[in-house]
């Protein structure tokens, strides 16, 4: 077993076991803790796959952002000190059934696809740096330029980048931001005017 697959096994095991712990723990904050471990080791799997940018984004967005919001929500809305979630047997059965169904779909998809070994990934991107330095090609692709494709092939056509999806996502996020600010603003109370 090579070092990489050994590390992959360890992190994959951590991811799966802590995902199971999320399901089986009772208090919400413990679930969040196990979710942090699970998502963090998913980021580690991304780093192992030489996808540094995706791994860092995973850490920043899911662990640092979403989960903190989740815990915030729990802390702000909880009525007691340690909120417990007790599932009824019926819910356990339905949840287990759905989980097994999903597992079946994943396995079916896995065996249904003919996987081929990647041929020297990302080596063509950088003449000098290490494998995994995907940041600059990614950034240029978001700006609509694909020099990693266009410069290496001797064809005079230019490949399309991801400028349009990038812009759509940016505008969408801007709308969300303005919407959040609008919802959180200090509201004028109609009732207070009448009362005074």
């Amino acid at each position: 077993m090579s070092g990489e697959s050994f590390l992959f096994t360890i992190f994959a095991l951590i991811t799966c076991l802590s995902a199971i712990a999320v399901v089986f723990s009772q208090t919400v904050v413990r679930m969040a803790f196990w979710l942090v471990i699970s998502l963090g080791s998913t980021a580690a799997l991304f780093f192992l796959a030489n996808a540094d940018f995706v791994g860092a984004a995973q850490l920043l967005i899911y662990v640092g952002g979403t989960l903190v919001l989740l815990v915030f929500g729990v802390m702000l809305t909880a009525s007691g000190p340690y909120l417990k979630i007790a599932t009824s047997p019926g819910e356990t059965v339905i949840g287990g059934f759905l989980g097994l169904l999903f597992l079946f779909i994943v396995f079916a998809a896995r065996s249904g696809v003919e996987w081929r070994k990647p041929t020297a990934p990302a080596e063509t991107l950088n003449s000098s740096g290490a494998v995994g330095n995907t940041l600059r090609p990614l950034g240029l692709a978001f700006l609509g330029a694909r020099p990693d494709k266009d410069l290496n092939e001797d064809v005079d056509t230019t490949s399309p980048g991801y400028l349009l999806p990038f812009e759509i996502v940016s505008v969408h996020l801007l709308v969300v931001l303005i919407g959040a600010a609008y919802l959180a603003r200090a509201k004028k109370r109609v009732g207070s005017v009448q009362a005074s």
Partner: protein
Amino acid sequence: MMFAAQSIAEFFQFLGNWQYVVAAIVHAVLLIHVFALSPFAFIWLERKVSGRIQDRLGPTRVGGLFGWLQSLADGIKLVQKEDLCPPAADSMLFRSAPYVVCVASFAAFMVLPFSQGWVAVAADCGLFIILAILSLEVFGVIMAGYSSGSKWSLFGGMREAAQMVSYEIPLAICALVPVIAAGSLNLGEIGGMQRGWFSNWFLFHDPFTFIAFFVYFVVATASCKRAPFDLAEAESELVGGFHTEYSGMRWSFFFMGEYASMFAVCGIASILFLGGWNTGIGPLDDWLYSARNAGASGEGSAALGYLANVLGALIFVKKASLGVFVQIWLRWTLPRLRIDQVITTCLKYLVPISCFLFLGATFWPLLMATGLGQTTWTSPLGERTADEVRESRGPSSPKIEAAVDTASADDAAGLVSVERVGGAVR
């Protein structure tokens, strides 16, 4: 030859397949020492500086001169203390929270370069990774506050979480301002670009980076939960904030995490704005740079290159420690802000200021190129980019050569295309 190895992995080449494992262990052990010894030094410094500011002497006895072993004495005392867990606490979360804080601030050192090429993981998006890792620290704080089963801890944790999460936004935006000037997220590359006279430091790159440095420093102080932004720990009203219920080593882990992340954010500041491991004296820097390169490539003396790197690391640590010293100085001179003032400072002032700086920094190169015909205020248009392209070209393809040749350095469009092509090669 010992110094001739370009990396630690190469040094252990004789081990065959195990070289990477051994190299990883060596890197980890070295970084654990940085992580453990920087709090050791800074806690002593904190005591000494606070003593001087309050017209006291501070520690004088332990270890003889200046009481320099005070931190060790503190550590021995803390190890002996009982490891308490209050009955109202959620013991699993309570016990693991300090480790989350520690791991988050320790892992940040993984991508922090100490000198040219002296970095455990030379990632292309190093700055992004380090900011992402530092943002995990807040989770340990929330866990500690929530799981302690105490009002003080819960309030402290809530305040802390609100503060750290909101200060992350201006921190990231301010860190992006020098990135715009550098055109790279690779911390090693950003540091290397500021070689030469100190006017090459990104602090003096344009007025926006100059202001961004100070904004970054304020925000970094706040995100390390240091005074005047240490509302969450406010002793007078919240006892100890989120770590009220902790004692012994678990308590000290929070502080190790805090001092280590102070060092980490100041290290980032020194790389982004203050030239990293460069001395700021032009000819000396050029000489050190060539000594390092000659040592690495085997053309010159390897030992000299190694010594040049040691000097670089010392300069880097010095700059970062200076930042930590200023943070300590601020803590003992400024009064604490109220929690609403802390959040107002961030959301109403620092976020808009940093957004303005970000916009200004994007317009600055355009203004310089079209108005004055220069890349920066010191170098004429296209000079630096052409140098970079030449350096980073490596084994070049004829197509890129043609692109570089045709891209005239006289107009702004040419500048952009040279930069793009240079990026593609890298």
